[in-house]
Amino acid sequence: MNLFKKSFIYIITFFCLPVLSLTSCSGSGSDSEKADVSSFEFEALSEIKEGRPDIYLILKLIDSSYWQVIIDGARDAAADLDCNLYMSGTSNETDWEGQLVILEQCMERGADAIILSPDDSVKLSPKIEEIYEQGLPMVFIDTAANTEQFDVCYMTDNLLAGQMAAREMLSELELMGISQNEEAYVGIVVGQAASLTINERLAGFYQYWTKNSPDKWHIISDIMNCNGDISTAAGMITKSLEEYPALHGLYGTNNGPSKEIARFVSDNGRTDIAVVGFDYSDEIKSIINSEDYHASTMLQRQYDMSFKGVQTAMKLLEGGKINTKFVDTGVVTVNRRTLGNPEVVSVIEHN
């Protein structure tokens, strides 16, 4: 009878499983990988004195040149103000859970104000609202969260920056001598489709391009999406060139793709391709400085973001009021023609 019972169980299992699988219960994967949420270090960016308000600066990344400029801006601002400034951040720009832990730690440590560049504008919003409702000044830098529960945000208006990039692409193509009656294509390389910043730069680019480009100049609708793996960019550009021999422009929506585009153009000696990107990598700097290439890059004023962020946090702590919630710190266009411009020189110095 034991054998009989076992057989029965096997029969039931064997037949029921495949049939029940037809119910196609769709598995819902977790939103993201679990972060290492043990604890985070806080570094003092100012002299720490008793009795002064504690301002906490929370960054997306703590070990990159872009974010180092932000740290410099915050440190310089704090040096002239009567406050203690601490800094912490995640080592991955998508580790929003890590930032959640940092925010908790800040509250436990008795933060008086928070300056944050959110890793996720959507998922961190509830926590931001919770903190803001407790009366803490909340300042965003570099990236906003999708909530009105904050005091002020200093960042690049990426929609406008995208529009400026499109304007720059049109002017680079003209400078290259591409006629408006000539068929020309522009390819777009994005680093990560899910990023709000990238999407806004993409939207801005399209907005300007569709209203201002000549009829025969087109954007290749098959956007080259690296999905976080920048090493795939060169392969996608090569494929695009095969499909569109009249490809004369490449637009990189952020630092990684811009760097890869510049490297590709330089390695292949493609002086017939105009490059427009973001940030100031060595690769893009190199083709901007070369007379053979047509390249421009959009530089953000991240130093200003954190400098003003600390100043504003202090002002709010002192009872001051801010009428504007969103301050576009803007971008400067860097190309061979603007390299001598004092404003450009100043921004480059902070990059």
Binding site: M1, F4, S7, F8, I11, I12, F15, C16, P18, V19, L20, L22, T23, S24, C25, S26, S121, V122, K123, S125, P126, A144, A145, N146, T147, E148, F150, V152, C153, D157, L159, L160, V190, A193, L196, N199, E200, L202, A203, Y206, Q207, W209, T210, K211, S221, D222, I223, N225, N323, T324, K325, F326, V327, D328
Partner: protein, 503 residues
């Protein structure tokens, strides 16, 4: 014979079991195939139903979204009509009044007079320059809506509505009102399907889309691009998606589309926005959103069927097991003697007849316990039964499992041994005699201690004595008769018994 006999029976029993399993498996295959067919049909029906209903819902939501935009524009028109009716001389006065007494949910309100002077806050002036908003105000329409942009005042995406009005005796002015994009979500929000529906505003030409209603509350105002979204769609639907987008660029009023991302079906619908040239409301619903309840119901039905199947199978197994047990009992009763467990006469005759008739050599032995009637009288019937059992055990212990042993009636036993070795059987009979002699009468009675149990036996060999079962039996019986006629307590072979000189 017991264990060996059971072993012989096992293959038959296993065959029965196997056959039973096969029947169960076959039934289950049929059952499962039916269920699978039922589920597939159910899923297909739900899918068709979803596709149809999703399209209807998309249409309704698009209309609802357009209505909410109309609600905003109507509010703006109402205000402008009131302003026109009051015929203000100085716009500055009314601007100061309105800006200090904000009653609406709007983010900002202001005017542009006939000379193009802007009555607005510093932040709004900055936004007008930054986004060239005045170009939206110059459309030759009752009302126009700007593209969404991030407000300096609230830091969130907003749209600005422009409508014309008259002041100072017929001069043309333009009024603007800025609304949060998230207000659209509040107007369009539905009780059900809130977590499933996505509503976007889409600029057809650039393929830019901004989320107005979405699965995540905080994702409202996020930009995306249809070309980028198209990359997620399954390859076979990309062309249709592209066509759908192109029809919007050409200025179609509305268009619907269905496609798949992975295994999920989506229905998507677009409709042109009246006061936002080139812009569309786009609604998307995953196919499974509507069927979630039906899927839950289907799963309940499946669980019920699985339970039902389990109960039915358990009942069948239980009935099968009970049936087998009863059959085994009946089988025992039909072929065995209830007292000794040996074959009964009918079973023995059947088996022995087959064996003898087959021509296989065998020895037929008749046993008769001597004076058993007296033994019964002396020891009592209960003890008589015990003696019969004892003798049965002695027989079983001396013959092989393959030999047939039977209590033929009363104190008569028969054995059909599969051998033709007379010496071997003679040794066996002598050993049985010795063992029966050694049975102590004290084991059956406390008063009789000196009784010696004996038996008489007659043996015949086949085919030497006869190759017919009945004849062989008679031969053995004749030999037994001879033994009983003389001294009893012994055995005799038929060929010896019929010798003329046997005394």
């Amino acid at each position: 014979m017991g264990k060996k006999k059971e072993k012989e029976k096992k293959p038959n029993s296993m065959q029965n079991n196997r056959s039973f399993y096969m029947t169960i498996i076959l039934c289950m295959i049929i059952f499962m195939a039916s269920i699978a067919y039922l589920i597939i049909s159910f899923n297909r029906l739900i899918s068709q139903h979803d596709e149809h209903l999703s399209s209807e819902i998309c249409t309704l939501l698009t209309e609802k979204m357009n209505n909410s935009l109309r609600f905003m524009t109507d509010s703006a028109k109402d205000i402008s009509e009131v302003l026109s009716a009051q015929d203000f001389k100085d716009l500055g006065d009314i601007y100061r009044k309105l800006s200090t007494d904000k009653r609406g949910d709007y983010v900002g309100i202001g005017f542009i007079d006939e000379e193009g002077v802007l009555y607005a806050t510093t932040e709004e002036r900055y936004e007008f320059r930054k986004w060239n908003l005045l170009s939206a105000a110059t459309y030759d329409q009752d009302i126009t809506i700007s593209a969404p942009y991030r407000s300096t005042t609230i830091g969130q995406p907003v749209i600005t509505l422009f409508t014309s009005f008259r002041y100072a005796g017929g001069r043309h002015g333009t009024m603007f009102i800025t609304y949060r994009l998230s207000d659209l979500q509040d107007i369009v929000n539905t009780e059900s399907l809130t977590d499933e529906i996505e509503i976007w505003l889409m600029d057809a030409e650039s393929a830019n889309m901004i989320l107005c209603v979405g699965t995540a509350r905080y994702a409202i105002g996020s930009w995306s691009n249809a070309y980028l979204s198209m990359q997620d769609i399954n390859e076979e639907y990309k062309e249709a998606y592209d066509e759908w987008h192109k029809s919007m660029v050409k200025g179609i009023k509305s268009a619907s589309l269905t496609y798949k991302i992975g295994k999920i079906n989506y229905s998507q619908f677009c409709a042109a926005i009246d006061n936002m040239p080139g812009w569309y409301v786009v609604v998307r619903i995953p196919g499974n959103a509507l069927s979630a309840t039906m899927n839950t119901f289907r799963n309940y039905v499946l669980i019920f069927l699985a339970l039902l199947l389990t109960v039915v199978i358990l009942l069948i197994i239980n009935m099968y097991a009970r049936n087998r047990k009863e059959n085994r009992k009946l089988e025992q009763l039909s072929i065995h003697d209830p007292l000794t467990g040996l074959l009964n006469r009918r079973a023995f005759d059947n088996a022995a007849q087959q064996l003898v008739n087959s021509g296989e050599p065998s020895v037929f032995i008749f046993f008769d316990i001597d004076y058993f009637k007296q033994v019964n009288d002396l020891f009592g019937h209960d003890s008589g039964d015990k003696i019969l059992k004892t003798f049965s055990e002695i027989l079983k212990s001396h013959f092989r499992g393959t030999d047939l042993i039977s209590r033929y009636g009363g104190d008569e036993y028969v054995v059909l041994a599969k051998t033709d070795s007379v010496p071997a059987i003679s040794r066996t009979l002598a050993a049985i005699r010795d063992e029966f002699h050694s049975v102590k009468s004290s084991d059956f009675s406390s008063t009789i201690t000196d009784h010696t149990f004996t038996f008489s036996a007659g043996a015949a060999i086949s085919p030497a004595d006869s190759s017919e079962f009945e004849d062989l039996k008679k031969c053995a019986d004749e030999a037994l008769y001879k033994v009983k006629e003389f001294n009893r307590d012994g055995y005799l072979w038929y060929d010896e018994a019929v010798k003329p000189d046997y005394v």
